[in-house]
Subunit: 153 residues, 2 copies
DNA sequence: TATTGTTATACTCTATAACTATA
DNA sequence: TATAGTTATAGAGTATAACAATA
């Protein structure tokens, strides 16, 4: 007579111990947001990082790549790639910085500025959609908490 | 006579338009948390994903890889790699599932369970540290918001 | 036909190390 | 010596496509 399966597949998978971790919830939420934002920006030829880099260059003409790296909280080496892509697409220019021949001044082109303005609309709409159903107080709390987590070493 | 630099480096880089996006704040906070958790788990030979996979296997003996993929919200193909790593380290076993010769039942070993219990402590401490200074109400709000963002398509 | 586990692959994000030109 | 930009590289996360075995 056959004995019952010693390892039956669980019918209800419990992830309670993981769900208890805010860090785990953050990861899951962020993955969904990231994927959604990637789809949102794809028609513009941008990704979250190239959009962010473009935004900073539009807002801060003459920005140096090292400043951009610091503002984005990534290594300088990675910024090179983002700027390469933005430059190849004709949205950003590198011009030699006066007064320091090692450095470059980043500027957006007219096409770059216009692209940013169009993309900004959909990004903000995406962000609003993400917060759909949350009160202003709740949103403020989230902003505060995220800012604090970022500081927390 | 030299004209002034037409592209001086901005003295204060403005990232206000990006900071206005909760998605951007999420990304920054998550990067910090992720890096910190990676360092926390490194001494155990685990990463966030292998820790999560191990947790689910410990809590749900007999779990199928496809169930694990669903629970982790990743593709089945990626789960293969996590289970490979956990199996090679001797923390998890794959045994043929009775009743479906395509499937496997995942089980943790005694070493796997003990590792999980030790790692769980530091992970929970990490999570608590991350929320340091936030009230219970605020934490509850964040949990609610994150859960909702994850649902938001 | 559909599903399970798997392999192979590609793209992205991130970091580190080392190089060059310049400061 | 130190810094700015760069190149090369490696590890990790994620997704898609396609396959064999089985349902």
């Amino acid at each position: 007579m056959a004995r019952p399966d010693p390892h039956p597949a669980p019918e209800n998978v419990s992830d309670a111990p993981l769900r208890a971790l805010v860090g785990y919830q953050m990861k899951r939420a962020f993955n969904v947001i990231q994927a959604d934002l990637t789809r949102t920006l794809d028609p513009f030829g941008l990704r979250m990082l190239t959009y962010s880099a473009l935004a900073l260059i539009v807002e801060n003409p003459g920005l140096r790549p090292s400043q951009l790296a610091h503002a984005l909280a990534v290594e300088r080496a990675n910024v090179v790639v983002y700027v390469d892509q933005l430059e190849e697409a004709g949205w950003v220019t590198r011009t030699p910085a006066l007064g320091d021949r090692r450095a470059y001044a980043l500027q957006c082109t007219l096409a770059g500025r216009r692209l940013y303005e169009r993309a900004q609309k959909v990004v903000h709409a995406h962000d609003t959609r993400m917060l759909n159903g949350l009160s202003e107080d709740e949103t403020a709390t989230i902003r505060k908490a995220l800012a604090q987590m970022e500081q927390q070493t």
